[in-house]
């Protein structure tokens, strides 16, 4: 059916003074925006299919292409925004569920932008991180209630308390769960390699572990989600840690669906499902309907791994997140990962992505406070996820109580993602969220690995600068230290939940 009411979102303009008819744009656009007319010997563009990914404009050697929002304006209406009108048109024509990808683009308050960090002046000297050692090493896992030491037969003092397995991170930043299938082989490889190079961890997502990536397994967290794709005892034992995925910030309470077209031979083998079949993750785990059920799965995994791997439970930040997190800790989780409202996805119903969950800042503060009040904060590490855009966001999250953070969108952006939010089409022009052999080869894992390690390095250096400026020399001294934060432009109630004082107090 002709989609006649849905007008193009973008306008693609070509500066004919600069265009040299080299056709790089024609060859790069998977959405067929650009075409070459051999009769006229002329490249032309049709913005109707443009998703605004900038692939053509980035590769154009003369900078002849510019992309702008469509100039076709609706009559201004504060209630009926152009998006809401267009969405009604789309559904009136298609009658389906509207899909989106990446994190929500709605203007929900970003609390990071209302929090400011402290710095030392006069009485508490700041530290120069270029001259003094700065410690970013982070251990994730259950910490003992107390440390007991004893004197051994040789007279030497030794630790008597048994320490449960820990993940050692060189920097408190890990790569979020992105499954092989939702992203390409090359993108998965780059994330794994970068995690290994930087001494941190990448998460396989729910798509299993490709045999080629086993060499990076010591720096990988494997996920067990409701679809249980690719899960067997070997999968659990080869990794550094196991994560049970209950929910995802972009689509809490919603399962997943990798279309059969993307399930090629390699993905079928990795996920342990027939080639060409849809990979459907149910909304809940059908064996987990209570905290007790969750405990059973956690301990089943711990038994399978001989209690050698920390077990993480990933939940979406929803209204009663602190109670759920508390339950997960009591169920035996060594790490609780919380994914906030703005967390990303490869595909989610737009209405779920944009309207469900709570911001990670509030969820993180609430969970940290709740676990402290209950005296069980030491029993699990907290990993925050859901749109960390800079080192400052990370530092603020640590100060709010996170042990480490997961970055997914930032990692994709480092690899070239332009946030066009069309991952679910499988036509990612940047070679990240696609399985099309024409497109996957666009992401050279050597280049992507370098870019990811550079990002981690840059952010780590910035975090060290921030620690130094605050007068502390270890990330441990910032963790959960909300005195280092002040709020600007927030209500009293929001500040109570965040546990921070207003600026000036």
């Amino acid at each position: 059916m002709r989609r006649w009411l849905v007008q193009p979102e973008f306008k693609v303009e070509r500066d004919l003074e600069r265009c040299i008819q080299c056709q790089v744009c024609v060859r790069q656009c998977a959405n067929d925006v650009h075409s070459y007319d051999e009769e006229d010997e002329q490249v032309s563009s049709d913005g109707a299919c443009c998703v605004g990914c900038h692939r053509c404009a980035t590769l154009c050697p003369t900078g002849a292409i510019s992309i702008s929002r469509s100039q076709l304006e609706f009559k201004p209406n504060a209630n009926w925004t152009p998006e809401s009108i267009r969405n009604v048109y789309k559904q009136a024509e298609g009658g389906g569920v509207l899909l989106s990808a990446m994190g929500t683009d709605r203007p929900w308050r970003v609390y990071w932008d209302h929090l400011l960090l402290n710095a030392s002046q006069v009485t508490n000297p700041s530290i120069d991180p270029l001259r003094e050692p700065m410690e970013l090493v982070t251990y994730l896992g259950r910490k003992p209630d107390q440390i007991r030491v004893e004197r051994g037969p040789d007279g030497k003092v030794r630790l008597a308390t048994e320490i449960t397995p820990q993940l050692k991170l060189q920097t408190p930043i890990m790569f979020s769960a992105m499954s092989y299938g939702s992203i390409s082989y090359n993108a998965s490889q780059a994330l794994a390699r970068a995690a290994k190079a930087a001494g941190t961890f990448a998460n396989t997502g729910e798509g299993g572990l490709h045999p080629d990536f086993r060499q990076y397994a010591s720096n990988m967290i494997v996920q067990v989600a409701s679809g249980r794709f690719g899960v067997d005892p070997d999968y659990l034992n080869v990794a550094a840690a196991v994560e049970i995925k209950i929910g995802q910030g972009a689509k809490p309470g919603i399962g997943g669906h990798l279309p059969g077209e993307k399930v090629d031979a390699a993905i079928s083998r990795t996920r342990m499902i027939p080639q060409g079949s849809d990979a459907i993750s149910p909304a809940p785990h059908h064996d987990i309907y209570s905290i007790e059920d969750l405990r059973q799965l956690i301990y089943a995994i711990k038994e399978t791994t001989q209690h050698r791997k920390p077990v993480s439970v990933k939940i979406a930040a929803v209204h009663n997140v602190s109670a759920i997190a508390s339950g997960a800790v009591r169920a035996g989780a060594d790490i609780v990962a919380i994914d906030g409202l703005r967390g990303g996805t490869g595909a989610a119903p737009t209405t779920i992505r944009d309207n469900v969950g709570i911001p990670i800042e509030l969820a993180l503060a609430a969970v940290d406070s709740r676990l402290r009040e209950e005296g069980i904060r030491n029993q699990a590490s907290i990993v925050a996820a859901g749109s960390f855009r800079s080192a400052a966001d990370v530092a603020k999250a640590i100060a709010l109580g996170a042990d480490a953070v997961y970055i997914g969108t930032s990692a994709c952006v480092a690899m070239g993602c332009h946030l066009c939010q069309r991952c679910y089409t499988g036509k990612c022009n940047w070679g990240i969220a696609t399985q099309d052999p024409f497109l996957t080869k666009r992401l050279n894992p050597d280049v992507a690995t370098r870019r990811l390690t550079n990002l981690l390095r840059g952010w780590s250096l910035e975090i060290k600068e921030m620690l130094g400026m605050m007068g502390v020399n270890a990330i441990e001294s910032l963790r959960g230290n909300r005195e280092h934060l002040r709020a600007v432009g927030l209500s009293d109630r929001e500040m109570v939940i965040l546990g921070v004082k207003p600026a000036g107090e």
């Binding site: 600069r18 080299c22 060859r27 003369t62 666009r442 050279n444």
Partner: protein
Amino acid sequence: MKRIYAREEFCLGCRLCEIHCLVRHSKSKKLIKAFRKERGEVVPGVMVESAGHVTFAMQCRHCDTAPCLEACITGAMHRDKKTGAVICDADKCVGCWMCVMVCPAGAVRRGKDGKEGKAASKCDLCAGDKTPVCVLNCPNEAIVYEER
């Protein structure tokens, strides 16, 4: 010697290598001007070969025993003593195209340089540049210049 190698698994097939090669070997050295005025006059030394999603950039292999050197009737095709690159002296070339015929890589093409306005055109490893422009401008590092 250092040679240019293609990594076909990462070649986008965008052909930016051809474009930058053309500009580098043009008179003006200016992208837009070279394309407008010299396209057809200057033949890029690199060509992107493609079949389906398999694409790669192909240029002269600068063979150790180069058939073009043996086939050349005027001595225009010669090996640069310093770099080891196989180079065509356009002024000596008479355009008999024997080199085009014998090149196993299909990397020599008919150009329009030289006194007669016809001379073999091929990769010259950017004549002494530290890194050839095709390697420098490949957006996905699918062309590398290295010793193997």
